[in-house]
Subunit: 226 residues, 2 copies
DNA sequence: CACCAGGCTGAATGAACGTTTAGCATTCTG
DNA sequence: CAGAATGCTAAACGTTCATTCAGCCTGGTG
């Protein structure tokens, strides 16, 4: 993994190799793996397309390096945030603190599929599982099906704010990944949880839960041709 | 919009045109717009690539038809679910009731960008905004910045379970978009809201809110080269 | 100085793929 | 029945793009 905090890190990151990687991170995030081209990446990095091949071998190789760099940056960030609060809340904090470049890359990778994205989702779900079981052991017995489902859904919901950052930013009128705007997203999540809790513990909760269960039957899959 | 419930709908959907559209929906969802090829779509639909051009003009034209079909299916579904519960809970119910084909297409479109995806996100956020303001008018004054942010974040979190369905399915051990498994996701969301409410209204909530705010300063954007 | 290794360039190559074109078959229509 | 329109196929075309190749430049080393 080339995100180690060893000696030559900062210096090495000024090289053309690092510029290519950063440009690729941005292009993959914006246009996806297939949509990104050597030419655009090379232009953004201020190098020739030949140099990309020289350093990374192939487009797939470049993707792999981006993948490892992004997940490495996330894990570094998570570790440096005092391992104490390695629970769920801390995980999302790390995701947002890792920097926009890697975050946007991983956001897209979560949908296009990549080892790093899978690792990130699993890490979030694992931490959520620990958190839920530790906080409500009676409601969420460790290792049970209920925690597993809840943790996975919780991970998906939280990462949803990352993956859908473009839409979120549009609705909020500001870049949701800009550190200056993080408090707005954080406050919104806190508000939602605090208030929706009332809603779901009340009578409405039972109604909705029941409605969800019945919806599984009433559904009509229109358009079943062929 | 060709998802109207007019007379010839069902019959027309047995045509090659409909088969192409359905195959495109699936390919675009699986491989993305750029990753999908005429050949794969044509093979899946059992037609020649020339016929795609004949019916849709170009790849972009095919995408537009998929877009309109998917959002049309969603809106039809929302309308048919008794407009009464058109609030947020009903919106997500419609998303999951619209069928896996359109849902998976829109999941990917939400990240790659498309008019239909934007319309869907906005619809979800708008309904969330109405719901939040109507339910907690003192906490969320209608038209204020707090509701707007909370509604956008809520929309992102809920749609996160759609966009990240591949990861969710992997963790849950079953296809999260299969109607048979909807109760699991629904129950998980209900559990999360019911319990996290306790957490955030307690002392922890204040701590986390504060931590989020301070994190906006303490962040270090490593890797600022170039 | 001679030499060479590694960073780097730019054009050539070849495959993948969207698009175009020509034409066949079937079905309406007057 | 003539003929026009529609659904459809198959091959050719041209572009885009990842990959390859030949070689330049610079700095360090014997």
């Amino acid at each position: 993994m080339d995100t180690s905090d060893t000696d030559g890190r900062a210096a090495a990151d000024l090289t053309a190799r690092a510029r290519i990687r950063d440009a690729a991170l941005a292009e993959f995030a914006d246009r996806g793996f297939k949509g990104a081209t050597f030419q655009t990446i090379a232009d953004a990095a201020g190098v020739s397309t030949g140099l990309i091949r020289h350093h990374f071998g192939s487009k797939e190789g470049l993707r792999r390096v981006c993948d490892e760099h992004a997940i490495g940056t996330l894990l570094d960030q998570a570790r440096s945030s005092l391992g104490a609060e390695a629970a769920e809340p801390g995980f999302m904090a790390s995701v947002y603190a890792m920097g926009a470049a890697s975050a946007r890359y991983l956001a897209r990778a979560l949908v296009e599929g990549s080892p790093a994205a899978t690792e990130m989702f699993d890490a979030g779900s694992d931490l959520a599982e620990q958190f839920l079981s530790a906080t409500w052991p009676d409601r969420f017995p460790a290792g049970g099906a209920a925690v597993r489902d809840a943790a996975a859904v919780m991970g998906a919901m939280h990462l949803g704010t990352l993956v859908l950052h473009a839409h979120l930013s549009r609705r909020m009128g500001a870049d949701s990944l800009d550190p200056a705007n993080l408090p707005r997203t954080g406050a919104a999540i806190a508000d939602i949880y605090a208030l929706m809790g009332d809603y779901f513990t009340g009578a409405q909760g039972a109604l909705i839960t029941e409605a969800v269960a019945s919806a599984a039957h009433g559904k009509d899959e229109e358009d079943r041709d062929e």
